[in-house]
Symmetry: C2
Subunit: 369 residues, 2 copies
């Protein structure tokens, strides 16, 4: 994987976006901020109408007869992506064509099998999304500061790669290049694995009495947040990356079986050590995830402030943090079932923590750690 | 499970806390706010010294010879809890004794086996904690608005239950009563299950190249946050609740095997339906988790605002939300690797969403959904 220089040539347009769901419509909105001519097409008349209404571009059916886009962005559901790319390459012989499907090897294989001319094609994957779907959930800033992976085929021209890169950079994304295999292995681990295990945990809650669920804490909420994701999209993603994901799941099953065996005989010799190892391995893996802004993991110091849950309290707190001259690196509210008091967990650079605690305490805030 | 009335008698004290880790020291700090006499004891001289230094109470070794606590809170590591309770019941014949271990049936069984007099004992579990441990992480407000489960044995006197309840209420917690079996089944599902699956996901990241991890999004971060938890504590919790957790893990393994079988033959008839069902079951379970303040799930409307990552921006935003007169129900920052722009996801009551979007847009904020 290699980084890409930030100084870049903008797209000239027009840009044709085929598929105006969450991602397609968001790309349209983002490009329209630069005044780029965006043309929209979707097999669903209502999806393309909504995308037009929110300002993502004009409709293909209204385009001039000699319409010749600089770039075609194929953003249909993943399982028809290759077919849409093949068609776009034929229909727009002077255009660069990219797709944005979140799995890349299966699309590449289908394109190869179809004998498509890949000199004008670049496979891409913007690593952005939401738990919501459809053009109504679109937003121009969806890709801001998010990774956008480019997987150019060997045949791709320099111009094609440059155009794909311009798309990502115009939308504020951070470009990374890798092979389709490297990409699909990576997303199996960092995206598809947490998705399916989050869903497995959440599905256990289907028959839980509400009283038991009322004891749920932030841990359960965090682990299951992405279990709210769109099934129809994920069916296609999981299906297309099945072989890579299943390899990881074999390892998970092995760990799970080890855990089950240990829990079946919790008093057996070595069982404590087994459990400690499971937990420690989790510690070790978790500590390797980079923090905000790609910073090294755990680089920030935390403090927690107690606030009354009335309008303006958190604002007041943050205003005073700003007045102290300390930059907020992260912020987390702790949910409190039943009562109207909240905790605000604030992350700052470690050198500023003591100063900030003193300044806030002086101003009458309850800093609780 | 039943709720408990809020108007309550405060503890008179003195209160003896045996075990001054995160929870014991936090209880001491919280009771000291009411001026209650708190006496501390820990097998580790440095742990009890730290607890004293942060203001959690005075040391047992300095207590008067006829020291007779109103209440003894047993907060040692879970696996020695029953022994500490038995000893406390003998040593302080006029005191009510509670423990705060996060598993209850095994403690109850050990107490019964030891022939302890349970009329003065109540098992309890404050559902609060942190990813950090030890008295240095303690805070008086740890229990504020959090559930505190009481599991009184059949023999417990009304006075014992009332005293245990006063402890929870003095610390701002919300009291719930249930049987030890109901408690342990509940925490196996809502606490121990997400913990072990979070650890299983995180442990897969131990050998992942840093470049791949740099593509990690908020989903992975959320799913693995609690994988940072203390192994030595969790070894005891998992060991003590092994039989209940393993029953749930059998179901998880069944689902995992179903998923693996499907992914091994992603083109087989019915495989798409299998994947859709897995995802939908996750949707259904996730939707049942109550929101903040015990409110019905998904009761709030969200909007997302783009902010520059410079000091004071989020404060300014929240100040203006306050000025519009809208109460913030929840707040989430989206992490952005590499660049200095952030998204603030704000939850408000649905009726206020449109008003707030208009007001913020008018004031020059970028509301992106």
């Amino acid at each position: 994987m290699t980084g890409v220089d930030k100084g870049h040539t903008h797209l000239r347009g027009p840009v044709l976006i085929i598929g105006t769901g969450l991602l397609g419509a968001s790309i349209g909105l983002g490009l329209r901020r630069w005044g780029i001519d965006v043309v929209l097409s979707d097999t669903s008349p209502s999806a393309e109408a909504v995308a037009q209404d929110i300002g993502a571009g004009r409709l293909l059916q209204d385009a001039e007869p000699d319409f010749a886009p600089e770039l075609v962005v194929c953003a249909p559901p993943p399982d028809v992506t290759a077919a849409v790319v093949v068609d776009a390459l034929k229909r727009y012989p002077s255009a660069v064509v990219v797709d944005i499907a979140s799995i890349k090897a299966s699309v590449a294989a289908e394109l190869k099998a179809a004998g498509a001319d890949l000199s004008r094609y670049v496979g891409t994957h913007p690593m952005a999304g939401r738990e919501k779907s459809g053009p109504v959930a679109a937003r121009a800033e969806l890709f801001t500061s998010m990774p956008w992976v480019l997987c150019p085929p060997a045949d791709a021209t320099g111009q094609a790669v440059k155009t794909a890169q311009a798309l990502a950079l115009d939308l504020g994304a951070i470009v990374a290049k890798m092979s389709v295999e490297e990409h699909d292995e990576t997303v199996a681990l960092i995206s598809h694995l947490p998705q399916v295990l989050s869903s497995l945990v959440a599905s256990r809650l289907q028959d839980t009495p509400p009283q038991a669920l009322s004891l749920a804490g932030q841990g359960l909420r965090d682990v299951t947040r992405i279990a709210a994701s769109d099934p129809s999209l994920w069916v296609q993603i999981l299906g297309a990356n099945a072989s890579r994901l299943v390899d990881i799941l074999y390892d998970v099953r092995e760990d799970l079986n080890r855990l089950i065996n240990t829990l079946e005989q919790p008093e057996a010799p070595g069982s404590r050590l087994d459990l400690a190892q499971l937990m420690s391995e989790g510690n070790a893996g978790q500590a390797r995830i980079p923090g905000k802004h790609g910073a090294p993991p755990r680089a920030f110091a935390e403090l927690t402030v107690l606030v009354d849950d009335v309008p303006g309290q958190i604002a007041k707190l943050l205003t005073e943090i700003g007045a102290v001259g300390v930059n907020l690196e992260d912020l987390r509210l702790e949910h409190s079932p039943g009562q109207q008091v909240g905790m605000v967990e604030v992350s700052v650079v470690p050198g500023k923590r003591t100063e900030l605690i003193e300044a806030l305490t002086e101003r009458g805030w309850k800093v609780v750690s």
